[in-house]
């Protein structure tokens, strides 16, 4: 889709009701986000998906370019489902209240922003790649306890327990800093292991 083409509306798989699909966003990212498309640039959900695409993009391109047989843990279909999960999680969802001293003012953080926060925190741990992220509980009730569930893939050879513990710790501290949610638990499941091809064609 180009700037000259008006975005189709009401597509079931578009991102943030922008009229642009995950594939369109991926193409936009590949083009270096040029020419600029305001409907994407001004849409928080599209930007969230783009940020995730770009965070894992280099890794996915490397892996897909290699023989999938060398990389049984993370193949193209794995990335397909990863990006589908990212697209789904980027939906703004519910407004999670933040306290305000002024009764005429309502402050909130979106569910989508929190899921992106969790994903970015997990991806930021060396050797971890977040596959799926879910928030359970009453997000809209002040002080209600919530549970965070995420699955990760761990780099082959990395200390699995340590990576999972670091992910749990980072996610918890990010939620503490940016939300007023009462986080009861952060449950991390290691669902895959992966390898990263190095520049010489081997694996790291």
């Amino acid at each position: 889709m180009t700037m000259d083409t008006p975005p189709p509306t009401g597509e079931p798989d578009d991102v943030g009701d922008s009229g642009y699909t995950l594939e369109d966003l991926s193409d936009y990212s590949d083009r270096g986000r040029t020419p600029a498309i305001p409907a994407i640039d001004d849409n928080a959900e599209c930007q969230s998906v783009l940020a995730s695409i770009e965070r894992v993009g280099a890794l996915s391109r490397d892996l897909i370019a290699k023989d999938a047989a060398d990389h049984p843990a993370l193949d193209e279909s794995w990335f397909g489902s990863l990006f589908a999960a990212i697209s789904n999680e980027a939906k703004a969802g519910r407004d999670i209240p933040l306290s305000s001293p002024d009764p005429r003012t309502r402050l909130s953080i979106t569910e989508g922003a929190v899921r992106e926060l969790v994903r970015a925190a997990g991806d930021g741990v060396a050797g971890a790649l977040v596959g799926r992220c879910q928030l359970h509980g009453d997000l809209e009730g002040p002080g209600s306890g919530i549970r965070v569930e995420l699955s990760i893939s761990v780099l082959l050879g990395a200390p699995v327990h340590e990576v999972a513990a670091l992910v749990r710790q980072r996610v918890y501290s990010e939620l503490l800093a940016h939300t007023e949610l009462a986080v009861e638990s952060v449950d991390v499941t290691v669902a895959d292991v992966h390898v990263i091809p190095n520049a010489k064609g081997g694996t790291a």
């Binding site: 008006p6 928080a44 930007q47 002024d102 940016h178 939300t179």
Partner: protein, 103 residues
């Protein structure tokens, strides 16, 4: 002052708040697309203004990069309120939604 002019003033003020990394459209995408068709090449404001029973509601969607999203959202709301006060609008609802927390 038109609503669009007020919205642009608010957007500028919010962008100037420490920790606000971006402002995103607060209008539903379909509404925004429809308005853009009539506005032509004029860039529409990202801040949404609505009136219900004579009361103005201002909605701003922000991306934040500061260490704490709640403090930044609160500062953004104060910036909105400052613009409204200067425009003589004292009785308005201000809604600030954190839509993204930037890396």
């Amino acid at each position: 002052m038109t609503d669009d002019e007020l919205a642009i003033l608010i957007e500028t003020a919010v962008r100037g708040v420490d920790g606000v990394a971006n402002v995103y459209s607060a209008l539903p995408p379909l509404t925004r697309s429809a308005r853009q068709l009539t506005a032509g090449t004029v860039t529409l404001p990202l801040v949404a203004l609505a009136r219900k029973d004579g009361l103005l509601a201002v909605t701003v969607n922000v991306g934040v990069s500061a260490p704490q999203a709640p403090a930044t959202a609160s500062a953004a709301a104060i910036a909105v309120r400052t613009v409204l006060d200067a425009a003589g609008i004292v009785d308005a609802e201000v809604i600030v939604r954190v839509s993204r927390v930037h890396d």
